[in-house]
């Protein structure tokens, strides 16, 4: 089975010697919904731009459906839908004209889906893009991206700057697409609740490298955070060396340790090793996981 989207050891920088992506390898299979998380500037947009053929990887390669987006842009882009936070739809044409352009370029355009979504979003074909609000313009972009029934949907912070209702509508459309077509979805987002709702897998990107690449349910059930007072374990190396320890971070006068395993088992293990010294194990919601892995030492 060819992966739908695959980056192989991609390296890219914009300034010599300062890599934005430093050896990133991710492989996405058909039907997955992958949430790409990372701090601003971690390289998510660059990674996505490389996938869309808009950037050349200095080293490594990218393949969509086994094809290169730079060598065969038409074959690739016919099967991909793309929505980005800063995608600029030309402001002069009307919605109808933009849709007409897409209709003529994508033979598999689904007219009934187009009508249904236009109705759902309450958009009129005669409105000019420049007079739409940000949310409405984003909805148009989403329309253009999904109505040709793509096999892969790439969303680069699609809900950025949108109000909660607009974000929810976006999710609903994505879920509907998942139901109907089994589309593979890759989306980068800062909104953890959205990610927790529909992602099956989560990839954390930091400083150009993949820090974490796991199934979301595995994170919820199979990892937890242990809070260990500094006094109990002055040497973090001991903790880091324990099997199943994913990350140790200093926070005030405690160590925050992300460990694999259920809460009770981890609590038992740590207590066995370090003694009953006020060790607590708590669940790890995605937002906390994000901060643990990507937050700086100051947090």
């Amino acid at each position: 089975m060819i992966p739908v989207l695959e980056w192989l050891d991609v390296y890219r920088s914009f300034q010599r010697g300062v890599p934005v992506l430093n050896g990133v390898s991710i492989s996405i299979a058909e039907g997955e919904v992958v949430g790409l998380l990372g701090r601003n500037g971690a390289g998510k947009t660059t990674l996505i731009n490389i996938a869309m053929g808009m950037l050349f990887p200095e080293r490594g390669s990218v393949r969509l459906f086994g094809l290169s987006p730079m060598e065969e842009p038409v074959a690739v882009k016919k099967r991909v839908g793309y929505v980005s936070e800063d995608q600029i739809i030309p402001s002069f044409p009307t919605i109808g004209e933009i849709l007409a352009l897409h209709r003529s370029l994508f033979p598999q355009w689904d007219e009934s889906m187009e009508r249904d979504l236009l109705d759902r979003f309450s958009l009129s074909l005669r409105s000019r893009i420049q007079f739409l609000s940000k949310g409405q313009a984003r909805q148009v972009a989403l329309l253009c991206a999904v109505c040709h029934r793509p096999e892969l949907l790439i969303l680069d912070e699609p809900a950025g700057g949108l109000d909660p209702a607009a974000r929810r509508e976006f999710l609903e459309t994505s879920v509907r697409l998942l139901n109907r077509e089994g589309t593979t979805i890759l989306f980068s987002s800062h909104n953890m609740t959205d990610v927790e709702r529909i992602a099956s897998r989560v990839v954390l990107l930091d400083a150009g490298k993949v820090r974490l690449d796991r199934q979301l349910d595995n994170i919820r059930e199979g990892t937890c955070m242990a809070i260990i007072p500094r006094a109990s374990a002055p040497d973090p190396g001991v903790i880091a060396g324990m099997p199943g320890c994913l990350r140790v971070r200093e926070a005030f006068d405690e160590w925050h340790v992300v460990v694999e395993g259920s809460r009770d088992s981890v609590q038992e293990r740590l207590t066995a090793v370090l003694g009953h010294n006020g060790i607590r194990c708590v669940a790890l919601p995605l937002e906390e996981l994000f901060i643990e892995f990507l937050g700086g030492d100051r947090l």
Partner: protein
């Protein structure tokens, strides 16, 4: 190369859509046999080509399943249509002008910046804005025939076309393939102005040294020199002032949130413009300076016109006086019409003379004071309007009066 994609892109192009309207407008004008035909054709087409924006592709197009060459050809054909159709119509109706040369020059003006940095989504921003200067140079060359223009065009156009055709990538890139040593901005689509690294005062640099403002200064200079009698140039300069002011307002949006008095912000844009006009005037009359009285009157008129030129677009942002801007449309059209007939902008070009006669009994010192008072009043009006302006995302501009939005 797929035909369907090519047609779709072409139909979507702004130039393609504007071409029929341009052809009709130019045909109508040609039928009335104006003397300023060549300038009209050139300026109108140049403005549209320039206003078209990006010379390559928009990022929106980059996500579509099309190849770079398809995009290039579609754009090229749209622009050729926009240039060619009006030129052909004008040639049919009012023969006798070098339409082919004009059309060729416009095409060159489009191809030249395009051929730079073809791999990326857009040519460098400063270059896109310099295209207008290129256009003017070409225009002068066409007018005074210093180059063997036909030969130049016949050689350069195919050469540039070939260069672009062979280098345009299948998929446009956002950044250079290999990063340079020096840091290059990653966002080619921000509205930030490229500024010269000369001036120390940050806000001056921010406001004044945007390219749109730098371009308007030489126009005002030439205007002051006496080119205001050349109607189309006059109108064009006024339009540039209009545009420059609108762009200035965008940069001023940030400055207003800072503890800088709005008067200071206003003066930073106004003073260079007034200085340019005045300097132009003196450059024009050098070395025979007219009597002081005449100088005062002329400079007041020129300076006043410049302030009014910024006042009119400024009123569009203050709801109460929004009606003012459309009022100027009628006189502007009249002046445009006069330009086509080969007449100077104002019926009685002796406005200066009239004013001089009226002011004869007044001593020069008093005249100076009156002139200063008039200019100050105009400035205060501008200040008031500037203070009241609103920054709605889509301000209700007068254009909406005759277009209903959904």
């Amino acid at each position: 190369m797929r035909q369907a994609a090519f047609y779709a892109l072409m139909k979507h192009d702004f130039c393609w859509k504007a071409a029929p309207w341009m052809t009709i407008a130019v045909a109508v004008l040609a039928a009335l046999r104006p003397t300023g035909m060549m300038e009209v054709l050139f300026i109108v087409i140049a403005a549209v080509v320039y206003g078209r924006g990006n010379f390559h592709a928009e990022r929106f197009v980059g996500a579509l399943p099309v190849e770079g060459r398809e995009i290039f050809l579609a754009q090229l054909f749209s622009v050729m249509f926009l240039i060619g159709a009006p030129a052909a119509a004008a040639a049919a109706i009012a023969p006798g002008l070098p339409y082919l040369k004009i059309a060729g020059a416009c095409l060159l003006m489009y191809l030249a910046p395009y051929s730079i940095r073809t791999e990326r989504f857009a040519a460098p921003k400063w270059l896109r804005q310099m295209v207008i200067v290129l256009g003017i140079l070409l225009f002068i060359a066409v007018n005074i025939s210093i180059l063997p223009l036909t030969v130049t065009l016949a050689m350069m156009i195919p050469a540039l076309f070939f260069k672009v055709w062979t280098t345009v990538p299948k998929s446009f890139q956002l950044a250079a393939r290999n990063p340079p040593g020096r840091f290059v901005g990653m966002k080619p689509f921000t509205n930030g102005q490229w500024t010269l690294q000369l001036v120390r005062w940050p806000f001056l640099r921010f406001v004044v040294l945007g390219w749109h403002l730098i371009l308007v200064i030489p126009f005002l200079f030439v205007l002051g020199m006496g080119a205001w009698q050349w109607t189309l140039f006059f109108l064009f300069s006024m339009s540039m002032t209009f545009v420059a002011w609108s762009k200035f307002e965008e940069s001023a949006m940030l400055l207003r949130t800072l503890p800088i008095p709005s008067r200071t912000i206003l003066l930073t844009i106004l003073l260079p413009m007034l200085a340019a006009v005045a300097a132009g005037y003196y450059a024009g009359v050098w070395p025979d300076f007219p009597p002081l009285r005449m100088q005062i009157v002329t400079i007041t008129i020129l300076a006043g016109a410049t302030i009014v030129g910024t006042l009119v677009p400024a009123t569009m942002r203050w709801r109460r006086v929004r009606f003012v801007a459309p009022l100027f449309l009628a006189p502007a059209l009249t002046i445009l019409w006069r330009g086509f007939r080969g007449l100077p902008p104002f019926p009685d070009t002796n406005v200066t003379g009239t004013l001089l006669r009226i002011s004869r009994p007044v001593p020069e010192g008093v005249l100076l004071v009156i002139a200063a008072a008039v200019l100050t009043l105009l400035f205060l009006a501008l200040e008031k309007v500037f203070a009241e302006s609103e920054y709605a995302k889509n301000p209700e501009t007068p254009a909406r009066f005759w277009r209903s939005a959904e």
